[in-house]
Symmetry: C2
Subunit: 434 residues, 2 copies
């Protein structure tokens, strides 16, 4: 078994080198990686074919098989992603606060990488390249653990990453691949060497990680997204947004799981929706009031906190905006929730009071995504409120340090009133060091 502690130590060493590297050098890695992926395409596809065969034999469900595939089109997407990442501005070395504290004593807050990050992700092998490249762009070393179904593909991709690291002049251990669960368990204990864990997976999995580590965890658990159709909604828009939020892709975290409808508009909306949902094969579960209007299975209390990730939807009729907001704050997972209404006051109330990472007005919940938001890419969507909330792009992979630059100032002189605080905001310098 590989010694995880040594890997973490090497990751830390690699981070110290990476953290002071130039933006050009980090972009050169991204370019080299695109190149290595293209020239090793056949080897990667062959490895993926083996993973796919093994997965088929072991009876992996079809949607998972689909996610596991890494073919010509995935390769092109991945390479395009690497190219667009190079064109994004460097997230590190940006001065975000500058203050004259006293005469000749200036404070600067400058963004910098976090350190060594552990990422545990699911079966999609293209996620490996995406995560590694986001970490490299932002100056972070990374320990990665992918799904075991993708083991051979991940090995082949990691080999490309290793070559690209060496070509760009980085420590080959800047990106390391873990291959066993035991290594993940060992990683969780390295709180002196690893700064952040990002788990992508089920709710239970994320909670397991949180229970077994002192390292800060950023991840999303469930995506229980709601659409609330207000009494002042446009009927056609309500139907379009609800159908899109549920059925455009049911297996993603930003798909709607519960629909709330104001009682005044419920009969018209439900009849129109029933037809649409029947047509695309979504089965419905409703509360009593819903079932008085359309025929469907009864929804139990359990349904309100369930992430179906399937052609299934729970529906509830509410008597007020207030009731809708309370339902969402109580049963939701603070991911993304939408109100459909033409009433500005109702919308403002909803956006202010719903306690979620994304609060939407008249737009499908499916837009909750780092690429859609213009972040270039995302490492995940955080449903927590600490550090990063919602789609987490490069900015979420940075922290900052305070640089205080003086000329021998002492607190003794402050106490003697020889120095007094001025607290004058300064123009933000464009480059790292003032």
């Amino acid at each position: 078994m590989i010694d995880l502690h040594s890997m973490a130590v090497e990751g830390r060493e690699a981070f110290y080198q990476l953290s002071v590297s130039s933006s050009d050098k980090r972009n050169a890695f991204l370019a080299a990686l695109a190149d290595e992926l293209r020239s090793s395409a056949e080897a990667v596809f062959a490895a993926n074919q083996q993973d796919l065969r093994d997965a088929e034999v072991s009876g992996l469900p079809l949607p998972l098989l689909h996610r596991l595939r890494f073919d010509e089109s995935k390769l092109e997407q991945t390479v395009t992603g690497l190219e667009s990442l190079q064109s994004l501005p460097d997230p590190i070395g940006k001065t975000t606060l500058a203050t004259e504290i006293a005469r000749g004593l200036n404070l600067y807050r400058v963004t910098c990488p976090i350190g060594v990050i552990g990422v545990i992700f699911e079966s999609r092998p293209d996620a490996l390249v995406q995560i590694a490249s986001l970490c490299m762009k932002s100056g972070n070393a990374v320990l990665l653990k992918g799904g075991s179904e993708a083991a051979k593909t991940n090995q082949a991709l990691t080999e490309c990453i290793r070559k690209a690291l060496v070509r760009a002049g980085f420590h080959p251990q800047t990106v390391q691949l873990l291959t066993s669960r035991e290594e993940v368990t060992a990683m969780l204990k390295e709180d002196q060497l690893i700064d952040l864990i990002i788990p992508r997976g089920s709710n239970a999995f994320v909670r397991f990680i949180m229970d077994h580590s002192r390292i800060p965890v950023l991840g999303h658990a469930d995506g229980i997204c709601h659409v609330y159709i207000d009494d002042a909604a446009d009927l056609q828009m309500a139907v379009d947004v609800a159908v899109d939020s549920k059925a455009q892709n049911v297996s993603v975290c930003n798909a709607m799981e519960t629909l709330l409808i104001h009682e005044k508009i419920a009969p018209a909306v439900l009849r129109a929706l029933k037809e649409k949902f029947d047509a695309c094969g979504v089965s419905l579960r409703g509360d009593e009031q819903v079932r008085r209007i359309i025929s469907c299975e009864p929804a139990t209390d359990e349904d309100w906190s369930k992430e179906y990730l399937d052609y299934m939807l729970s529906i509830r009729v509410v008597s007020s905006l207030e009731e809708a907001i309370d339902h969402i704050n109580h049963y939701g997972s603070h991911h993304t929730d939408c109100i459909v209404t033409n009433h500005q006051g109702h919308a403002e109330e909803f956006l202010r009071r719903v306690d979620s990472a994304g609060v939407y007005w008249n737009v499908s919940t499916r837009f909750a995504d780092g690429f859609v938001y213009g972040f270039g890419a995302e490492v995940g969507i955080s449903t927590g409120k600490i550090h990063a909330r919602g789609p987490m792009g490069l900015e979420g992979l940075t922290t900052y340090k305070y640089k205080l630059i003086g000329s021998g100032q002492t607190m003794t002189d402050v106490k003697k009133h020889l120095i007094s605080y001025t607290h004058i905001p300064l123009d933000l310098p464009r480059s790292d060091l003032p």
Copy 2:
């Protein structure tokens, strides 16, 4: 025993009310609290006298007795703090990002409070008022647990807070006081209701909290701060900064614990420093090279990772800037570290490569403080890298949400190329809602 779960539920309810309150209303609470503290001064002082008598009987050490005292001068400081907090800008409802995602579809990132925060703090009773007021200013409900030595003072202060909450029209349970360790243990389990724990205390205590909760923890553990005197340092400045960093106040987290000196300048610096430190009663522990120059106790490997918080200092001679940086990154606690040098290149290297919240050039480590930085006040100094790093003021008590405002956009239309992304940056609106 009080039912902690019910307290957390009430805290959550109170938060939902508080989170949508106006800045004026939150400032009115701060004004009412200043008023209540003034008019209840006698009761608070009497409670404090009792705590002091009990503490003396139980043999509390003198520095702790000093921290426990809440008298006229502490009251004035506290009231002044409340007044300056009112004048700070509202940290919530600020739009920090605005992007046109597509025609008629705008994204806004808006700051908002975190939710319910649990704070566990040490014996100083004035910390209770400071923390509660920072949380109120930033729209967060709070559960507070203070040191048991200050129990009566804390009760009296909490009574003032309760009256001020009611006067300003807030739920009286917006700020709640815990009184037992069992309640703290119970609080750590409420990860569905409490969003953040801020422990202030020893390293071991903070680690205990992290081991027993899924709730994110922001705190500082040790403050092992370094001063490195470079070979290109000004001798007088080096002596002044070193003496101030160590001896101006030894019992604070931003005091220096280890001094590193370049070998070329070591003889001159050490002889000058020895005299100063002898004069102010700081006992020294040095490595072999130090002990060849001045007489002192030998430093063991343990000393390099020790936070003395006392009139004690470990000193090491290094042969290069590189060695100093490596020592700090290895043994330090990522709090605040300083280089004294007249060489800009050395300083830049140090500031870039030292992995600490505060990296200082020619200024005493004692300046690491939220008030000094111009943040008005601080809840604590974070040595972690996630969410808030360094002195944590109002900004560290906020998170943000993404508001996406459309006109019925669906992902189906994006896939049909009826909608295309524009990603145009928009001017930041001044008020909450665009």
